[in-house]
Symmetry: C2
Subunit: 424 residues, 2 copies
């Protein structure tokens, strides 16, 4: 029996559960350009309002995976496990985490993305390293997984192409903010990547896509369920994004902070989250007896980092680029620093040049914001609180404007705990 897309739209609009055949038809025909954008956008808006049942969502995700190729990593000699963050301000954790987990005996095959808006992208950060390249051939990718144990690189065109097309459509039709659509978008790519285990870092707070804990938990539960249905062991942590993670926000600035962590130092929250996520990943890989903290202190994670960067053309010993202009933002009053709004800092870094408004925009490696104090610190009026880094001084006023009201001294804010919850 042939399926008419208008009947699929009507069924979802009326709150019915779509059949596997209807889902497969919609995704396949849309990927091939056989149904119109205006029909799929109506379907997406109906999904926004009616949601999807677990079985529907599992099938929808599978159909998106099947629009491209699912990698087979079963020939690798060690267990594979990956991490995905829903995106935050200063979230550079992938950089120390991937080599750390590889140093502890698992393989980390991470296909990653670029930043958009106020959140940074892992590839943008790594591209601040002279010579490093994001694009690998399949052969290079598999060889690096064998030889180094960790890859962070750009996804190929055959990774869930339906998701790319759907995401572009959602972006212009007001259908981004739907939990089943967000969950299936993330999970289709992560499942297609082929890792056997997956740890999700679902960010919560002003700087995150999910501003409140309940929605973040629902997203986490939805993704864990999709992973389970697809045979990928999935665990999620809900972590704080009411303030930036660590002290560095911006591409080269975050690489530098990641190197501190790999050298056994770095801000406590970045170290703690990196080690926590590493433990979760190692547990999924059957390596719960390995303590990742040791591999940070003894330099093994740094060794894997150097090999990982070098394998992708980067010079791990090269100096990172630095900004031509640094403006200091002083503390507005004396007291305890109780709030430093993650979203405001993210927008400031974006306006300084660290982020992009459209996919095709370039980003600055050097731009960003450096925190000179952390939440809970005592500060004195006038002491340096933030550094704004940029090569383009004309960008400073807009960045300053973004920070208006972002700093709170002796305020009523209660910061989120670093780890808010765990699902899985």
């Amino acid at each position: 029996m042939s399926i008419a897309i208008v009947d699929v739209i009507r069924a979802k609009r009326d709150g019915l559960e779509l059949s596997p055949e209807q889902i497969d038809f919609a995704i396949d025909a849309y990927t091939k350009g056989l149904v119109a954008d205006e029909q799929i956008s109506a379907l997406l808006m109906a999904i926004y309002f009616q949601g999807m049942q677990p079985a529907e969502l599992a099938r929808w995700t599978t159909a998106m995976i099947d629009s491209g190729k699912r990698s087979d990593l079963s020939s690798l000699p060690k267990p594979t496990v990956d991490k995905h963050s829903t995106g935050g301000v200063g979230d550079k954790v992938t950089l120390p985490l991937a080599p750390l987990v590889a140093a502890c005996g698992a393989i980390v095959p991470q296909l990653s993305g670029r930043g958009l808006g106020h959140t940074g992208g892992t590839l943008d950060k790594l591209e601040a390293i002279p010579g490093w390249r994001a694009a690998l051939s399949t052969e290079e990718y598999l060889r690096q997984l064998h030889e180094v144990g960790a890859v962070v690189c750009a996804a190929g065109d055959d990774l869930a192409p339906a998701d790319r097309k759907l995401y572009a459509l959602r972006d212009v039709t007001g259908t981004v903010e739907s939990i089943p659509l967000i969950a299936s978008s993330i999970m289709s790519k992560k499942i297609a990547e082929g890792a056997a285990g997956l740890v999700l870092d679902v960010k919560v707070g002003s700087g995150a896509f999910m501003k409140d804990v309940d929605r973040a938990r629902t997203l986490a539960e939805t993704m864990v369920e999709i992973g389970g249905a697809a045979g990928v062991h999935t665990v999620a942590l809900l972590t704080a994004m009411d303030r930036p993670l660590g002290r560095a926000v911006g591409n080269a600035l975050e690489v530098a902070e990641s190197l501190e962590v790999l050298a056994g130092g770095g801000p406590a929250d970045v170290v703690e989250l990196t080690v926590l996520l590493a433990r979760e990943m190692l547990a999924l890989a059957g390596l719960s007896d390995v303590d990742p903290a040791i591999a940070l202190w003894d330099g093994r994670a740094m060794d894997v980092w150097r090999a990982m960067i070098a394998a992708q053309g980067g010079d791990p010993a090269a100096a990172l680029p630095v900004a031509g202009e640094i403006q200091i933002v002083p503390a507005p009053a004396s007291g305890t620093l109780t709030g430093l709004d993650a979203y405001a800092v993210g927008v400031a870094a974006w306006r300084l040049g660290a982020g992009r408004a459209r996919k095709e925009d370039p980003v600055s490696a050097v731009a960003g914001v450096l925190l000179r104090a952390e939440i809970g610190d005592e500060v004195k009026a006038g002491q340096p609180l933030l550094e704004l880094h940029t090569d383009d001084p004309d960008r400073l006023p807009a960045a300053m404007a973004a920070l208006d009201g972002a700093v709170s001294i002796d305020g009523p804010e209660v910061p989120l705990p670093l780890v808010v919850d765990r699902v899985g």
Copy 2:
């Protein structure tokens, strides 16, 4: 300030009231092709779920009117008033009604449409009359209103073009069944037509677009409110469409029945509804002291009919075409005829050739269904109950199949009263 359509979509999605500027922008930019179909279909689906507030809907309707030209009929020498039916099976009331109201002293400027699916269109019916043409120039139209007092003709391209474009989009995106969108679609065209008063015949029952009384009442109230906001005096009757109206369903068959009514005869329900609607129209025109029933009996309505048909090239004295093939459907049992499903009869007539599945399909003038008994009549098993008229005997089996289960003898059905409610 410039408006981004994605913000308009998101606002409606989130249940906010759109501003006049947002509404004007969306309709104007869409009509001009400056925003994409996939964005407007997402907006329409959001409207499906979130509805529209009265002020929004009034503005939305005005914006659709302003996408084209609103006729100015103020130079006409008598009050103008029109009727619109939401469509039913056997609903030929416009044919006797327009000349009747004109005979009573008002002017009836009706821009009408063609049938789609199981409901017939007034223009299709009139085209069964040899020589009659639906298309008039603006000059011909105005001259006929002056000289005859009634026109039923096709709408020009400049009548609410936004509605034409939106309706085509709704049809393929599952967004037809939204009361504000239905109401604004109907009312934009009727208000643009320029009549000072408007009587709406909102059909209820299986053969109508609105199957249940509550939704039909909501639609009626919504349209009356839109009319009021636009300065058009509007009244709505909710009328029965659980069974066909009258005994004739099909183009030439309905013209013939209309002629019986204009000659002072015809089925009681058609006569009663025609007179009731005429009274409502005359009241809006300030002519409540005129009794339209008299103008049916004394032949004045027939005189206007003849002038109206002749003015559009039709020969009011010409014989109507008749079908080459007539098949009798006998009563399946003896007893009281308690049900004759309007939808089933409409589909049967459509399958016999009276209706079209797509806008561009031709229709047969002669095809249709003639009822040989009415609800409440006593029938004997085997007596002729229906006549199926067609020029194409191959169509008879599918028409018979549509009628399966449509006839109920001594059943539990309680027919709707002819007039279910009045709003206004």
